[in-house]
């Protein structure tokens, strides 16, 4: 790890709409991306709903910001960890999540998936590895 680079984990636990947490977290990630840190996002509990595909907010009069997750690759944010148990508890599978890709600069710009499904135990290890954890 290079000097001055810290491992940042943004933990998302809330549903995308109804509170401002999810949108604010995403904005912080986009702004923070300018600082060239080692950034990961975690989605657990109701936070897994943030990544579901086919979101439509017409009925609640707020902006559907789910397409913005697909821009994260442009900001070199390409580690989106989703907890398997949280998905299962809500009757969701990986297929219910939108596809989020990034281009791997070190592999001839090959397109690779940003979403990684991990277990609760692996999530605990991931958190343990971080220098900074920001919870939303």
């Amino acid at each position: 790890m290079e000097d001055g680079i810290k491992k940042f984990l943004y933990v998302n636990r809330k549903a995308p709409y109804g509170t401002i947490y999810a949108l604010e977290a995403l904005e912080v990630v986009l702004i923070g991306a300018a600082f060239d840190q080692d950034v990961s996002l975690a989605f657990l509990d109701d936070g897994v709903f943030q990544l579901t595909k086919g979101q439509n907010t017409d009925g609640i009069g707020v902006k559907n910001f789910s397409p913005t997750f697909r821009a994260l690759g442009d900001y070199d944010v390409n580690k989106l960890y989703v907890e398997r148990e949280s998905l299962e508890e809500r009757g969701l599978t990986e297929d219910d999540l939108q596809e989020i890709m990034y281009e791997d600069e070190d592999d001839d710009w090959a397109e690779k998936p940003s979403i990684r499904i991990i277990s609760r135990a692996e999530m605990a290890d991931l958190m343990h590895d971080q220098d900074v954890i920001l919870s939303f």
Binding site: E27, L30, A34, K63, P67, R70, A71
Partner: protein
């Protein structure tokens, strides 16, 4: 505060970003550009159109380094570099071009 285009009034905020994104038109872009003292060329339009497409797809205005990287990829390094982009938009490619493109101020711009 508002712009006047073809007899229509288009509201904008204190920094000149239009309030309702649906009010945008090419004519309005020319009006905003004039106020910013920018003569719109094909290159200016290419950047403005890129920003509008990006917003349409991702619902955000990209940060300036993301914009320049993407323009470089799409239109080559002659246009997609800091120097040239700042020649096109002296007050900041993301900030100024977004205003002309009728988009909100880019996230993270102060």
């Amino acid at each position: 505060m508002s712009y006047e285009v073809n007899g229509q009034t288009v509201e904008h905020d204190e920094e000149g970003y239009i309030t309702n994104l649906n009010d945008w038109s090419k004519e309005l872009a020319e009006v905003i550009a004039k106020q910013e003292e920018i003569e719109m060329t094909d290159e200016h339009w290419a950047v403005v159109n890129f920003l509008r497409d990006y917003y349409e797809e991702y619902q955000i205005a990209p940060a300036v380094r993301v914009l320049i990287k993407a323009i470089k990829k799409q239109m080559g390094p002659e246009i997609g570099n800091n120097k040239y982009m700042y020649e096109l938009f002296p007050y900041g490619p993301a900030k100024q071009a977004c205003k002309i493109a009728g988009l909100p101020k880019p996230t993270g711009c102060v």
